[in-house]
Symmetry: C2
Subunit: 583 residues, 2 copies
């Protein structure tokens, strides 16, 4: 960047490259909105002034009359993998909604491919029109020794990755009890971030009181997992920057904003965390989070400040997130302020979205990482793997069943089950109970674990996926072991994805060859596939949010109350102790 | 710092070192004030909670009932040299007023001693109970080629000093027209700061419009030289962080705050810039700036946020400027919130001020810099050096006279003067006109420059000082060349300071052996000496603010309208062209 030429253009001794005139400027420094002209030179903003004040001379002038100019949105915490595409496809999908900077946590692909996975995301986002900054996943696996992921990041690995380009933070420190208990691993990982001058992302749903103080004393900067108003206010008071979110999995901001608004001073940031493909196309991205703020009565300029400048500043991203001289010319034009409707997007002074549409396709950057089938089974699965062996030959035993709630939380239920020929018969527990299994797929040498699941409302058939947070083994639920075998075989063959099988037939499949998590297709195509498989899941009875992915969190050993892990089967999340199958 | 032990203390599994209970917490995150308990372990805050919530177990407990706890103040821009003492003495003086972090610009000593001067300040502030961070002076000398300082810092020197410990920024970029005109030197210096990830301090009084845009496009982050409301608001809108100040030289905030308050969102920072010893002891420090904010109706918690957290965050000083778990335990207790009256000060958890008094003396840190007499004259001065040679032998000539206004600004006046035997007779212009000279003292090989000064109201005698911003040659004004010679000899002998001579006698002297700028005495002693010499200056007629230092800005070539430089004599600041003595 030629700073001298920029200065000359700013003062008026060199023509600007682009002027956007008579536009309603959303000034995120003062939270005012007023008519203004913006002059751009190269990839930066050179001059900003009241409309008509400077009679800007530029090679190209765009009349912004009737539109609003805002800084491109800065998403402060997001997993691209949740949108199930590559960074390039992701960029193509989110830019039309006004997001120009994404601070990503590649912990899904990191759990499968390890440091290679993180490197793939860093390389795969190099030079995109979306500015991608990476935070280094701190909890791979989510909880040590309780599950098997494809990798294990300790302080050394994290420290090494913190030196990679465009790496600016340590990603959500989810093992918050590890931090509260000062486990050497978690303290070491946070310290690696502090030593690197990185921002440390928190993740501590419902944590309050002295444990919260202990968590923060470790060096945590922010939290996107606020669940309740009182929790949010307590965190705010203790210096946490709330990153409020609306994601595919819920409107987490709704309960919290009213309480946060009671603080005399509130200046926070926003994020999306996880957005599935169809949800993204239908409901938007950071613009949706801003609309949620407007719903709460937050002034548009304030909400946009939260969605741009504050995140940039929090992560020390100099010159990002605002419209002022010297800032990067990442500017969006809104055709409606109330609806937060983006019409044009400029990144580094180049128009990349016009009339809400991407102008040109975005090419995949080259990568040094070779993408191979990541589904590594110890040996082919058989129907025997999914049967539940009982301690008696015939009769009744009490079994512990995981119950999935509509909230995606879980609980334990103990019920009497029929045993026939040493095998528990799930059908004896009613149509709503089926097998639940985790099939190791990172080359582990142990067999699948099996348990029972209730509450999914799967009436028949089998649903399986390699998206099984966070270790991403295969999670599978079904009524018939023979269908379950077919489902696993399908996933093994295509390198992972989502599959639905019923009565020996594959009813639906979404292939996700990249780590079993992501497709090489664009979001628009993937959204169609996802909608189709979701319809199939629904037709089999699943009435949960994110139908075909309703089971993808059942192996996530940090979310209450009961989960399943490849190492121990059913797990009590609070105590991290195994739960026996038979009560 | 043992992070594990801190976490344990925070969660309650290890006794705290100190608890401050039942105190009114000034929460700078939310701008609330409420009763709270604060637990400290080692040098950090471990736990903060509502009063009584956690029943804190600590080795020592202080009852904070009836007091307010606030973060120690962060001064965002200050020259310790203006207080004319070493960093250790400065720390002893400002800590009782609640300042615990100072972001210094050592450009006075830098102008005299060059990089050695900067290093002296860095070394001399190591390990003090006051946390001192250094910004590297960007304009040494203030304007290139127009004056001679003891050093010349280019981009390389600045880049090197930016690597020194506790260096966090580039100091006030005063040569704003150099930046606006994209001079390679100034662009290079700012770029060195950007490359180092440093914060870049602005200094652009009254700069507005496209020139301001050009200045900011270079990469400027803040400005402490706002002079008018409209200028302040324009800067705020363009992304400048205003650092509002009240200094010995004026209440710069008074005119600006009412206009800034009109912005819907305002979240700025505060500084002191220059405080002379007696003024400091009498009127305070950052507490005075906060009182100014309260005068404008700013809420106390907001004003304290501006005086602590915002500056820390702006300079990326992690864990400074707030009371929250993990933050440095730099806490002050106020006995009056309205008066911002500090009673106790804790730095890193240690009490250093009690009942408003420093508990123990502060030792000078060791330094590798040898402090020698810095007054280097080419040759002894003589009475001939101060006479003004006229182009005629006898009669009348029109002379250009610098007029000093009560505002400290200057203007030019052309008046007819009597010439006798080829010499201009100042007495012919009235009692209020006297000689004004800059005597080179950095070993320059040219003689003193001489001109005429009006408006100081010095009725007789001579006033001279080595404090002559920013190059710190000797500036001297007087009615009789013979007195002026004695004054210069006195300064040469003692290594600089301030001296008043009348009729051959030294009436007053303050010795400043450290670079001719600073004393080795404590502020309390120096304040007495300064008050004495100010009284002497007053007795000779000087009725300006900062009496004995009323002339110390007359060689500052960046302040309107007319100044005097060792290289060219009278100088037009706007054009940077010499002004001839005879019109």
């Amino acid at each position: 960047m030629d700073r001298t030429a920029l200065i000359e253009a700013a003062r008026g001794d060199r023509p600007l490259d682009l002027a956007i005139t008579n536009v309603n400027l959303v000034n995120v420094f003062t939270c005012e909105i007023y008519p203004a002209d913006i002059g751009i030179f190269g990839d930066r903003i050179a001059v900003v002034g009241p409309a008509g004040a400077y009679d800007l001379e530029a090679k190209e002038t765009i009349d912004g009359m009737g539109k609003w100019a805002a800084p491109g949105f800065v998403d402060t915490h997001v997993h691209i993998e949740s949108t199930m595409v590559t960074p390039a496809s992701y960029a193509a999908a989110v830019l039309p909604f006004g997001t120009t900077t994404s601070i990503i946590d590649p912990h899904e692909i990191g759990n499968v491919l390890g440091m290679d996975g993180v490197r793939f995301m860093v390389e795969g986002s190099e030079g995109l029109p979306l500015r991608v900054y990476t935070t280094i996943s701190s909890c791979v696996p989510a909880v040590p020794d309780k599950e098997t992921a494809g990798a294990d990041f300790g302080p050394e690995e994290v420290a090494e990755m913190l030196t990679w380009p465009r790496v600016i933070g340590v990603a959500e420190v989810m093992d918050y009890m590890g931090v509260v208990n000062a486990s050497p691993k978690m303290v070491g990982i946070v310290q690696a971030g502090l030593d690197a001058g990185a921002t440390i992302q928190g993740h501590s749903p419902l944590l309050m009181g002295r444990d919260l103080n202990a968590y923060l004393a470790a060096g945590i900067d922010n939290d996107h997992e606020l669940r309740q108003g009182d929790e949010g206010l307590e965190k705010l008071r203790l210096g946490v920057l709330p990153l409020l979110k609306v994601s595919t999995y819920g409107n987490y901001a709704r309960n919290i904003v009213p309480t946060l608004k009671s603080a005399p001073f509130l200046d926070i940031a926003l994020c999306t965390d996880d957005i599935e493909p169809a949800d993204l196309l239908k409901n938007g991205h950071m613009d949706r989070v801003i609309r949620e703020m407007l719903w709460h009565g937050i002034e548009p300029a304030v909400a946009i400040r939260w969605a741009s400048y504050n995140g940039a500043r929090h992560y020390k991203l100099r010159d990002h997130g605002a419209i002022g001289p010297g800032y990067l010319a990442d500017i969006i034009l809104l055709s409606s302020l109330e609806e937060v409707k983006t019409s044009e997007v400029f990144v580094g002074g180049k128009m990349v979205v016009q009339d809400g549409k991407l102008i040109e396709p975005i090419e995949e950057p080259p990568t040094t990482i070779k993408i191979e089938n990541s589904v590594h089974l110890r040996q082919p699965v058989s129907v025997e793997d999914f049967k539940i062996k009982a301690p008696i030959k015939e009769g009744t035993v009490n079994v512990n069943v995981m119950v999935l709630e509509p909230s995606r939380l879980t609980r334990l239920e103990t019920v009497p089950a029929q045993v026939r020929n040493h095998e528990v018969d799930p059908a004896s527990l009613g149509e709503d109970v089926c097998y639940l299994s985790v099939v190791p797929r990172h080359g582990q040498q142990h067999p699948p674990v099996v348990a029972l699941l209730k509450g999914l409302h799967l009436r028949h058939g089998t649903l399986a996926t390699t998206i099984a947070h966070d270790s991403h083994n295969i999670i599978i639920t079904g009524h018939r072991p023979s269908d379950m075998v077919i489902a696993v075989q399908e996933l093994e063959k295509c390198g992972g994805g989502i599959v639905i099988v019923d009565e020996g037939k594959v009813l639906g499949k979404v292939e996700l060859p990249l780590a079993g998590l992501m497709s090489l297709k664009p979001v628009s195509e993937l959204a169609v596939e996802m909608e189709a498989i979701n319809e199939t899941a629904k037709s089999l009875g699943i009435d949960h949010r994110a139908q075909a992915l309703a089971i993808s969190g059942l192996a996530l050993t940090v979310i209450p109350t009961v989960r399943i892990s490849d190492l121990v089967g059913l797990l009590d999340v609070a105590t991290q102790e195994p739960i026996p199958l038979f009560a």
